[in-house]
Symmetry: C2
Subunit: 165 residues, 2 copies
DNA sequence: AACGATAGTGTTATGATATAACATATTTAA
DNA sequence: TTAAATATGTTATATCATAACACTATCGTT
């Protein structure tokens, strides 16, 4: 039962409303189970991260917040740190940006496939990628603490669009 | 003939002089073959990156340069960009830092295993990791352009030291 | 050797990303 | 209801990176 997940870029092709609602429900669940508070601010920032199904940068979040009144960087970064600690979002190191996680209940660090064209991304947790890395590490006694795996390129849709031009 | 490379953390256990000399020789070769100039400045910065066998940040390089006189950030970043373009060094995204590459002749993007304790690192180019990722991508028609694979943790030596304390 | 073209470097200013430190407000739990 | 703990606001500043333009060195011709 460890079938590899398929990459599905869902940009524009789904019921965003319910997708978002599900994410929020999961987040609330995770917070509750860890005795953490999903405050109004944290929820707002979580929503902004999820909103577009693509990586968003801290200062873009800040810009959005400032449309409702004053806000400063620490407000954003603190919320992002909180959400990351709980695994509700992930940081994309190579882009200084953040994405929502759709499997926050499981502890994991995903593998991210991100389209350079449209920004759509997919998070995998592939057994074969994970174990290839683990094996390399075990081989020499390296003890893994954190995995950063970020693959950028062109998603199937954008590839299609390009061809037909 | 695709035996996996082993992780070897060479910190402190090698002839640094000749290790460095080899790296410089390779770099000169690569530059020559691509009709690029390995200028005094570029060489100096290349040496600083190699010097410690661990990731070094741009402003730390800048500090070193400034001991020989004035220098400003663009001087450093330009040289780093040049060296990266030729594959003579790599950027570690998750640390905003740079490391020397010991196989610059081959075009590749490595997998980095970096010790959180001592900073030692190893660059692999593992067939099994690479193909696991390629397979995941091909599965759905994602066209890979760039791979960022950075694994942090504790190297065998530091693990040993900790145990014996 | 003299020349213009190209490539490389210096310099100043500023943009982009992130955090420290402390003040204030809110929630929790006794 | 109150003290402790948690969360947020606010100001200042650290850290990372690049744009734009001036100047210098090198290369390839004549």
């Amino acid at each position: 039962m460890s079938a590899e997940q398929n990459i599905i870029f869902c940009r524009d092709h789904h019921d965003h409303q319910s997708c978002m609602a599900t994410a929020i429900a999961k987040a609330e669940q995770v917070c509750e189970s860890r005795n953490q508070r999903f405050t109004k601010l944290r929820k707002r920032i979580f929503e902004l991260v999820w909103q577009q199904h693509k990586p968003i940068r801290a200062y873009d979040i800040l810009d959005q917040l400032q449309q409702d009144g004053r806000a400063a960087p620490p407000t954003v970064y603190r919320a992002l740190d909180f959400l990351m600690d709980l695994g509700l979002i992930h940081r994309i190191e190579s882009m200084n940006a953040f994405v929502g996680c759709n499997n926050p209940q499981q502890k994991h660090e995903g593998q991210f496939f991100i389209c350079n064209d449209c920004g759509a991304f997919v998070e995998l947790d592939s057994t074969s990628i994970n174990s290839a890395i683990s094996i390399s590490a075990e081989h020499s006694g390296f003890e893994i603490q954190q995995r950063t795996i970020e693959i950028t390129g062109i998603c199937p849709e954008c590839k299609g669009k390009k061809k037909s031009q």
